[in-house]
Symmetry: C2
Subunit: 272 residues, 2 copies
C-alpha cells in the first residue's frame, strides 16, 4: 500500500485509528474457547465489527508466538482475512525485529512476502544495516521504534547523545538511510509534549502512537503537536477496545469503544 | 539449565563453541530439498555430526519465520530433537525480542515454555521493563545485545552517553535489574579490543560472541580479554561451519570446521 492510499483511507473514514490485536486466551470471552481457533474467531469478530471505524490493524506477534505453531496459524489466518475482505486496511506486524543485514532480509521476507503485511515494526539498536533491508521493499513501510510509551523508555531513549536525546539521534540518523521515505516511527502518547520536537526532525513521516487510553495518553494533546498536512498519525488502541467486554457482546462493545475514538478523530480532523 | 551445568559441559568437552543454525534453503545441499522437511533434515545432520564438539546451538528465528508455519515447525522439531537427544546442550533462540512488559512476558513464554529453549536474545532499546519479564524465569538465560558485530553498531551503540559509550551504559544499567544474574550479553568479536572494557563492567557474566570467522574476528584476541574464571565465553560460528560444503559430505565438512575451532579452544583453555 502507498502512503497516498493510506491518507485517502483516513480522509474517507474520518479516522486514523489503529486497533491492536493483542489476543490473550485468558482475556477473551470464554464461549470462544470451544471453537477450533479461538484467536482467529475473536479477531474475525472484532474486525467485522470495527473495520469501518479504523484504518489499520496491528497484531503484536508475541501474542501469537506464545501459542507456537497454532498461534502462527491464527496470525496467518488473521492477516489473510483482512487482506481478502478489507484490502483497504493498512496492516502492521508489530514484531520489533532487527538483526544483521542478511538476517533482517529474512525477517522482511517473513512479514512482507510470506504474511503480506503492509508494514512491520523494527528496533533501531543495531543501526543502519539492520533496518535498510526492510526499507528496500517497495510500497512496504518500516515503523522504527523512536520513543516508546513504557517506563523503560527513560533508561536509554531519553539519555543525551551528542547533545540530544537518543531518540532524536535515532530519528535524525535514520533520515540518511537508503529509502528512508519508507520509514514511519513509533512515538508513545504518554509524552505528548515531545511531539513538537519530533515534528521538527521528521515533519512528513507517519507516526504510530501507542499509549492512548489504557496507558494514559491524551489523543487531543498528541494531535495538537503531531498532526501534519497528510494527517501523519496512526493512533493505536489495543486493550481499551478489544477487551471492552468479555461477554457474548464483546464485538459490539469493541465497536462502541472504537466509535468513541473515531468520533473524537472526526472532530479533530474537521479543525485541521 | 544452570550456569554451573553449562560450565561443566565446557570443561568436559574442552569447547565453548556455539553453532548458529541459520538455515537458508538456497544454501543447503540440493539433495535435501527432496525431503519432507529440508531445514530439519539439514539441522539434524549438522547436530549429529558436531554435538560433541560444541556446547550450544543457536537457531536464528528469522531464518525459520521466513518460511512461515512450515519454518516454525522446523524450528520446533529442531529444538525438540536437541532437547531429547542431547539434553546437555545449551540452546539459544536468537530472536532479539523486546517489547513492553506484558508483551515481553508472552515472548518469554514462547521461547522458554512453548519451545523450551534455555535462553533467548533480547534487544535493550526499550529498557528495564522490556527485559525483566525474561529474567524472571528460573534457570533460563536472557542474552542482551550490548555491542554487535555489524557496521551499524557504530550508529548508536558506540555513541557517548553520560561520558561513556551507549553499550557500556546498557551493560552498567542492566546490572541493577531484578534477577540480573540471569543476564548474558552479545558482544561482537570484530572489536576484540573492547573486551577489556566490557570485562571491567561485567566480570562474571557469560558473553555470546558472534563475528568470529566469516565476519573477521580473531578467537585468540577475544579470549585474551574475554575469558574469566568460569570461561564466560560462548563463541558463535554459523556460516563458516554449516555451509563448509554444499555437497553430500556437508555434515562431515561441518564437523571438520567445528573440530578446528574446538582444538583451538582446547589449547586456549589449557593455558587458562
Amino acid at each position: 500500500m502507498t502512503t497516498k492510499q493510506l491518507v485517502e483511507q483516513i480522509r474517507t473514514k474520518k479516522s486514523f485509528l489503529c486497533i491492536g490485536l493483542d489476543v490473550d486466551l485468558n482475556k477473551i470471552p470464554q464461549h470462544l474457547l470451544q471453537t477450533e481457533d479461538p484467536i482467529f474467531e475473536f479477531n474475525k469478530a472484532i474486525i467485522d465489527a470495527t473495520h469501518d471505524l479504523c484504518v489499520s490493524y496491528k497484531p503484536n506477534t508475541a501474542f501469537y508466538e506464545a501459542y507456537g505453531i497454532k498461534g502462527w496459524q491464527s496470525l496467518e489466518k488473521t492477516i489473510n482475512y483482512i487482506n481478502e475482505k478489507y484490502p483497504e486496511i493498512f496492516t502492521i506486524a508489530d514484531a520489533k525485529r532487527g538483526d544483521i543485514g542478511n538476517t533482517s532480509t529474512m525477517y522482511a521476507k517473513a512479514f512482507f512476502e510470506d504474511l503480506a503485511f503492509d508494514s512491520v515494526t523494527v528496533a533501531p539498536y543495531m543501526g543502519k544495516d539492520s533496518v535498510e533491508p526492510f526499507l528496500a521493499f517497495k510500497n512496504k513501510h518500516t515503523i522504527m521504534l523512536a520513543l516508546t510509551s513504557n517506563e523503560g523508555a527513560f533508561d536509554f531513549q531519553t539519555k543525551i547523545v551528542d547533545g540530544e536525546e537518543l531518540y532524536k539521534k535515532v530519528l535524525q540518523t535514520s533520515k540518511s538511510w537508503k529509502h528512508s521515505e519508507n520509514l514511519m516511527y513509533v512515538c508513545g502518547a504518554t509524552k505528548a509534549e515531545y511531539f513538537k520536537e519530533i515534528r521538527k526532525i521528521v515533519p512528513n513521516n507517519f507516526l504510530l502512537v501507542p499509549g492512548v487510553g489504557a496507558q494514559g495518553g491524551s489523543l487531543k494533546d498528541v494531535c495538537q503537536f503531531g498532526l501534519n498536512s497528510q494527517v501523519g498519525l496512526l493512533i493505536n488502541s489495543s486493550r481499551g477496545i478489544i477487551y471492552a467486554s468479555n461477554g457474548e457482546d464483546f464485538a459490539n462493545a469493541a465497536r462502541n469503544e472504537a466509535l468513541i475514538l473515531q468520533k473524537e478523530m472526526e472532530v479533530i480532523l474537521s479543525f485541521n
